[in-house]
């Protein structure tokens, strides 16, 4: 062990290049090459990873990277060429399978090779900027297999054929498809797109073009939509199963375009099954389908909306201008409500409650409701009918629902002031004849109107309710103060404040003595407690309940109007009375008297009087007798004439005139308000501003506005500007 010579270790730097044995490189390469062969021949198990890695490492280290790389390229290419051939010869269905199998092999091989050559991948390749091993492997595969002349087109046509087969209902090997497509995707997105996706989309477009044409010829709209939806879902599913997720949007676009966009118009207008028919028949499902499909294409929804709007306007217009339905106002309004409910449901169920569709519905209703100038009157009559009798047995929530629906119609009206006038008239009649079934409902509606139109609209209406209540209290006070009257006829007085109730001309008549004295007592009582007021009896609006005994002893209680009472009481003293005598005694105005006599003498079941001659009309020479033979099933017989009715033509004109008159001061007030704040304003702007201000009550007529302006100029509220005659100035 002990060495005599002492060696001093000195490590010297290499002074000369160590030249590796050139044969070394060749030898090492051969080892690797052989390994590659073995790998491709599925003999990899006999190889030592460590040894191969080391060899590759050494080659690179000793600057033989070039040789290694180029060797790799050559070897791999050679293998791929062979693989290509074997794929080419595969027949029929085996083609894809072979391709798939070889791809898997190559892929596995590539991984192994990459692992072996990892060092080169990490050092040599970045330095020389060559393609990394894995990518190289893919590129070579692409170039030698996929883009090989014999394979490329065959691959594409096979894939497309399979898709087509699936579309026509056959089952295909989806797993295989998925693998192949994945292979293309792995090779790069441009490969996928160029070698598959683009042609796929073109072919699909063709396919769907043909199919949609076929369908549209033989299917009705609903069926077609079903089919389109099915196809669409199919394609989405196809993508999910074996295509690149990015293809979904593209293929769905193709289907949308070919099946929907191109045939949109034809579908919508298809006879007997198009949009209009669907709307008429409440086909919620089909409508929903149409909505969902058309939503996907540009202008799809607006087309549906436009067709719906014009159809609705047309139907609405017919509804509203139909002479028959105008005969019964309640029916008229009910039909409007039904129509609105129908479309509400359609929009809710099929059109996913879209706001734009709601707006289209509203604007259509607004359009046609105002085509009939009697709409405000009819809506008021509808409410009147409901509040009189139609709400018996209806729950509180339902009442609210009906009133809310009526409010919706009210909002559509342009001439809200006309509605107000009629509503007031009808309310007055209801209140005075004691015919309101439901006080709560009345008040609820007033609140709704107030919310909609403001305090001014409803202040008078509320005043009417107050009067009714106050009158009750007054009556109590009256009888408390006059206990001696408790045995006589019962008087019920409603004291109405003139401003709140619809204006009536004051007309009195001669009351029977008993009533006259009673009324006088009331008057003095009232004026005693309320100084500075004036009372005038409105005998045309009252009612009376009188007990009558007829010839054969039959007793009845008659509910009549005040006028009728006056006439009947006369017969307590006379058996026969002529028309003239009645007229003189009662001093009832002619037309009212005639109507009153007619209702008592000429109407079957209510003929408490007998008339000679027995004609239907009242002549001035007629004679009247009590009808001793009068019979009725009921003890209480109603012969009143105060029900709110659709106005006759002359009445209608009168009301309209009054409305027009009322509008004039409103327009003037608006003009003055605007001019006061603006001081100087030109004509067109005045008209625009005034119209806008008055919009919530009625649609102001520009000509009427102009007349009002002239009147204001006349009264020196305004003047024309001296420089520009179209401009007005406010005169303080």
């Amino acid at each position: 062990m002990s060495n005599q010579k002492k060696r001093s270790f000195q490590i010297e730097a290499f002074k000369h290049r160590v030249v590796v044995d050139p044969k070394y490189a060749e030898r090492t390469w051969k080892i690797i090459e052989h390994a590659i062969h073995e790998i491709y021949n599925h003999n990899a198990s006999g190889l030592s990873f460590e040894e191969l890695y080391r060899n590759a490492y050494n080659m690179v280290l000793h600057k033989f990277g070039d040789k290694l790389y180029s060797g790799l390229v050559t070897t791999m290419s050679a293998h791929l060429k062979e693989i290509s051939k074997s794929i080419e010869v595969a027949q029929g269905a085996l083609f894809l399978e072979e391709l798939n199998r070889k791809w898997n092999d190559h892929h596995k091989a590539l991984q192994m090779i990459r692992d072996i050559l990892m060092y080169m991948d990490r050092t040599y390749i970045p330095n020389t900027r060559k393609t990394p091993v894995h990518e190289l492997g893919l590129n070579l595969w692409r170039d030698y297999i996929i883009h090989s002349g014999k394979i490329q087109s065959r691959l594409l046509s096979t894939l497309l054929e399979l898709v087509h087969k699936e579309r026509t209902g056959e089952v295909i090997d989806r797993g295989l498809m998925r693998n192949i497509i994945k292979m293309l995707m792995d090779l790069g997105s441009s490969v996928y797109q160029e070698d598959f996706e683009k042609p796929f989309l073109e072919v699909s477009a063709e396919f769907y073009k043909v199919e949609s044409q076929k369908f549209i010829e033989c299917c009705d709209c609903g069926d077609y939509l079903k089919k389109a939806e099915i196809r669409l879902n199919e394609e989405i599913e196809r993508v999910a199963h074996y295509l690149d997720v990015k293809s979904e949007a593209k293929i769905t676009n193709v289907v949308e375009k070919e099946m929907i966009a191109n045939h949109m118009t034809r579908l919508v207008h298809m006879e007997n099954s198009g949009l209009v028919n669907m709307l008429l028949d409440d086909k919620y499902e089909d409508l929903g389908k149409m909505y969902n499909l058309f939503k996907r294409v540009p202008n799809g929804l607006s087309m549906i909306r436009d067709v719906m709007t014009s159809h609705l306007r047309e139907t609405g217009k017919q509804l509203v201008t139909d002479v028959e339905s105008s005969k019964d106002p309640v029916e008229f309004v009910q039909r409007l409500l039904d129509e609105r409910d129908k479309y509400d449901k359609i929009i809710c169920q099929a059109f996913s409650n879209s706001k734009t569709f709601q707006n289209a519905l509203n604007s259509s209703f607004e359009y046609f409701i105002n085509l009939n100038s009697r709409s405000p009157e009819f809506i008021s009559l509808f409410v009147d009918d409901k509040l009189r009798k139609g709400l018996k047995g209806v729950t509180e929530e339902d009442v609210e629902i009906i009133l809310d629906k009526v409010m919706m119609l009210f909002r559509y009206l342009r001439e809200k002031d006309v509605f107000e006038k009629y509503y007031k008239q009808h309310l007055a009649k209801r209140l005075l004849s004691g015919k309101t079934v439901c006080d709560d409902a009345e008040r609820s509606l007033i609140v709704k109107l107030k919310t909609e139109c403001g305090y001014q609209f409803t202040s008078k209406l509320e005043g009417m309710f107050t009067d009714m209540k106050t009158s009750e209290d007054t009556m109590q006070g009256f009888y408390a103060n006059h206990p001696e009257l408790a045995d006589g006829p019962t008087l019920v007085v409603q004291v109405l404040t003139t401003g709140s109730w619809p204006t009536q001309a004051t007309v009195t008549c001669n009351l029977p003595t008993e009533m006259a004295t009673l009324c006088e007592k009331f008057r003095s009582h009232y004026l005693g407690t309320h100084t500075g007021r004036r009372l005038s009896w409105q005998t045309n609006m009252g009612t009376a309940d009188i007990k009558a005994t007829f010839g054969k002893g039959q007793k009845h209680e008659l509910n009549v109007s005040t006028y009728q009472m006056c006439v009947l009481m006369l017969f307590n003293n006379y058996d026969m009375l002529s028309y003239k005598e009645i007229e003189q005694a009662t001093e009832i105005p002619t037309s009212d008297l005639k109507r009153c006599l007619q209702s008592m003498a000429c109407v079957k079941g209510k003929n408490v009087l007998r008339k000679e001659p027995m004609s239907k009309d009242i002549g001035t020479d007629d004679a009247f007798f009590v009808n001793d033979k009068f019979t009725s099933k009921f003890y209480k017989v109603k012969i009143g004439t105060v029900v709110a009715q659709k106005e006759s033509e002359p009445e209608k004109l009168e009301t309209r005139q009054r409305v027009e008159e009322d509008r004039k001061p409103q327009i003037e007030a608006a003009v003055v308000r605007i001019m006061k704040s603006r001081r100087v304003l030109d004509h067109n702007n005045v008209i625009a501003e005034v119209t806008k201000q008055l919009q919530s009550r009625f649609l102001a007529n520009p000509t009427e506005i102009k007349k009002r302006i002239e009147s204001l100029i006349e009264r020196e509220f305004l003047e024309r500007d001296s420089a520009d005659r179209k401009v007005y100035r406010y005169l303080a």
Binding site: H683, T703, K706, K707, E710, E714, R720, R725, K726
Partner: protein, 258 residues
Amino acid sequence: MHKLGRGHRDKVQQFMTITGASEKIALQALKASDWHLEGAFDFFYSQPHIKSYTDTTRLEELYNRYKDPYTDMILVDGITLLCNDLQVDPQDIVMLVVSWHMKASTMCEYSKEEFFIGLQALGIDSLEKFRERIPFMRSELKDEQKFHEIYNFAFGWAKEKGQKSLALDTAIGMWQLLFAEKQWPLVDHWCQFLQARHNKAISRDTWSQLLEFARTIDPALSNYDAEGAWPYLIDEFVEYLNENGIIQNGQFSDRSQK
């Protein structure tokens, strides 16, 4: 006067004080000299026929000739006499011009003050001078601006005292008179239209706007604008013309409906 600026108003006051002329003359003179007082004076004094000074005594005489025996005013008889003296028809439009100069408040009567103001403004203190001035007054009607003033004056003058509007018949008479000077082709149709459709008094606004209408809108109504803020009556008139085929396709065919 309220339309003038401060400086201008002062000048007018000064001018009036110095020359004793009426406001109208002052304005005229100052405008003509572009608001230079000196120039205005030159202008004023160089006008031979506008005399600033008229003999008040002679005016007094003239007045007394025509004044009503019971009231201190010239009434219908006096006016008729005046017209006779002037050899002018009482219906002649020149009397309107005279009234305008006088700033008479109502037709068929002149107060003493009005008589004096008018004749002084015209530089008249005798009948001969009066007669001489008549052609001048007629010429004033040809002046656009003056005609405008006279026309608008006519409304207040022709209407009944205390009324706001002008009775239709009087209005029509005035229009016939005035538009004979101005030559408005539609005047007859206008009057017919009013009698057929309107039959009520004429408001001041309608009166004054009618002149604008006659001046600016051509008889074929080619430049009539329905949004032009014309009084309602005029809009109706246009409708009437269209309905009765007087205006067809923008052509005015004067089918005189006698």
